[in-house]
């Protein structure tokens, strides 16, 4: 099994919620939106939307900038994309390698046990 740790855990945790996914999809389409624009389609109160934005921010998926009383939210997927590429590349490499390592070591273990059994038989 593969464990994606630390920052990726936060990313995936952030993505488990349908409201947060909807916010990200909208930000991908529109590049930037204010908090109240983001809150509008949802049947939840502004503070609840703010909490979702906190989770997305901590996961590194959005950035927020404030001008006067308006907070503008933007998508920020670069670190995740790069991390994902890196992980996928190495997961492929090492999973394939370890399948063969396992087969090799298990064949050698059988051979070693057979040799030990022969030796015991000789004594």
């Amino acid at each position: 099994m593969v464990n994606y740790e630390t920052s990726l855990d936060r990313t995936f945790a952030a993505l488990t919620d349908p409201t947060r996914r909807a916010i990200l999809v909208r930000l991908e389409r529109e590049a930037a939106a204010t908090v109240s624009e983001l809150a509008q389609p949802f049947a939840i109160k502004l503070p609840a939307v703010m909490k979702h934005l906190d989770v997305l921010d901590e996961a590194g998926l959005i950035s927020r900038s404030k001008a006067g009383r308006t907070v503008t939210v933007r998508l920020r997927p670069e670190p995740m994309r790069e991390a994902m590429d890196w992980l996928q590349r190495y997961e492929r490499f090492w999973s394939g390698s370890f399948d063969r390592l396992k087969a090799l070591a298990e064949a050698q273990e059988k051979a070693a046990q057979a040799a030990e059994a022969r030796k015991d038989g000789d004594e």
Partner: protein
């Protein structure tokens, strides 16, 4: 820190697994993503020693990685630095740790490949994100069935 962890149960004693991991004869049998041939396998089996492995993939491309054994503690633990020749993935240096634990069925191998901190900083400044969210969501959907999200 971004890292990949794999855990494997292997029905062989730790000393056999350790040798398979660190000897040129062992490495020739398993190294690489797709079963293409290993062309060069060189190791200096000691802390501070170096390793170099070159392999050909089934698509005919050749790749080489090398590094230094940072810890070499047979048959329990191995840590090494890792770098592609020519920095082919622009990833710089990363770090690998392998722990072998004797269990009733043989060996439990715990493997971690970690991106180093300066790499992550550099990558986080890379521009461009087309398709990133699609990919994240696909990956998330794929993972959702398997485990612990």
């Amino acid at each position: 820190m971004t890292s990949l962890t794999l855990v494997r149960q292997i029905a062989a004693r730790p000393s056999i697994v350790f040798d398979a991991l660190t000897t040129p004869e062992g490495i020739r049998c398993w190294w690489g993503p797709d079963g293409g041939p290993v062309l060069i396998a060189e190791t200096e089996p000691r802390a501070g020693g170096r390793f170099r492995v070159r392999f050909r993939m089934l698509d005919e491309s050749e790749h080489e990685s090398s590094g230094e054994y940072l810890e070499f503690d047979p048959p329990r633990r191995l840590a090494m630095s890792w770098r592609w020749a020519g920095d082919e993935d622009k990833g710089g240096e990363s770090r690998i740790e392998i722990d072998l634990r004797a269990v009733a069925a043989g060996t439990e191998l715990t493997f971690t490949h970690a991106m180093l901190h300066d790499e992550e900083t550099r990558l986080s400044h890379t521009d461009g994100w087309a398709g990133a969210l699609d990919k994240l969501q696909r990956h998330f959907e794929a993972l959702k069935g398997t485990a612990h999200v």
